[in-house]
């Protein structure tokens, strides 16, 4: 029973945080609301007894990803955008109609479906006996999902390489209009040309 109450509390808070995230004018406020949502989601993981994921959720999302966001926001200085219109002129009305419909559809499908547990037997209680949730996730990961794990590392390599070549400052000093383009790069007039 306590689980259910906690689930409802954290769930409602998470939804509230999500709504805040997509409605705040100030990017920083949205970001904080998102962190709030993520922490609530982590709590739901805890309620579900997925302890390792709960910690990972906070470390990876609330920690790493959101710090990255904050860093870029600071770096780019986005204050000026706050004064601009944040929503699309006509699309917002369409979305306001469509989103509830979509939600109704999703809920209708998932509620009417018959969910049959397959009872594979790895319950939290059993895990607690033989080594705990983290141990179980780790073993499962390396026994079953070794290949995806390796591929995921390549995803991170690709992302890192991409981030570097997209955002790195050129080392060549230059006097061109755009302070970040190398001297031998495309000139301002070419900026809009077909590539």
């Amino acid at each position: 029973m306590a689980e259910k109450i906690l689930f409802i509390i954290f769930g409602v808070l998470a939804i509230g945080g999500a709504l805040m995230t997509i409605t705040r004018k100030n990017v920083i406020h949205g970001l904080i609301a998102l962190v709030f949502t993520f922490i609530n989601v982590a709590m739901i993981y805890l309620v579900t007894q997925a302890y390792f994921l709960a910690v990972a959720q906070i470390l990876v999302y609330a920690g790493a990803i959101l710090v990255l966001f904050t860093f870029v926001i600071m770096f780019l200085d986005l204050r000026e955008f706050r004064e601009m219109e944040q929503f699309y002129p006509w699309q917002k009305y369409l979305v306001a109609i469509l989103a509830p419909i979509a939600l109704a559809e999703f809920i209708a499908v998932v509620v009417t479906a018959s969910w049959i547990p397959t009872q594979q037997g790895i319950t939290p209680e059993m895990l607690a006996e033989i080594g705990g949730n983290t141990w179980g996730v780790g073993v499962s990961l390396f026994e079953n999902m070794l290949l995806p794990f390796e591929v995921a590392s390549l995803i991170l390599v690709a992302a890192m390489v991409g981030a570097v070549i997209m955002a790195r400052k050129e080392t060549t000093p230059n006097v061109a209009l755009r302070a970040w383009a190398p001297a031998d790069g495309p000139q301002p007039g070419q900026l809009e040309q077909e590539v």
Binding site: I44, L76, A159
Partner: protein, 101 residues
């Protein structure tokens, strides 16, 4: 006393649609990135709920991968943000419409 699986699904549907709505509503690329993170988190809730429901750890493993992907997506997204901002001094994505028709 387990939490009914439908609860997870309703919560994740709600977060997912809110995230989708965020992508569709907001002009600012930053908020769009945040909304996408919301959508992926909604899926994670599903996976974790099902993982418990089916008494398996595969779902939790899957969540680890979506987290990794989310991190990579954030990095690439922010890199694109930087490039866009440097060239056009704006992040309002509807202003990037030189190619159409």
């Amino acid at each position: 006393m387990q939490i009914p699986i439908e609860w997870y699904l309703i919560l994740s549907s709600a977060l997912f649609i809110i995230g989708a709505a965020g992508v569709l509503l907001r002009r600012n690329l930053f908020i769009i990135l945040l909304s996408v993170e919301l959508m992926m988190n909604a899926v994670n809730i599903n996976l974790v709920g099902f993982s418990r429901f089916h008494e398996t750890l595969i779902g939790q493993n899957f969540v680890l991968f979506t987290m990794a992907v989310a991190a990579a997506e954030a990095a690439v997204g922010l890199a694109i943000v930087t490039a866009l901002y440097r060239n056009k001094r704006t992040l309002m994505i509807d202003l990037f419409n030189t190619m159409k028709g």
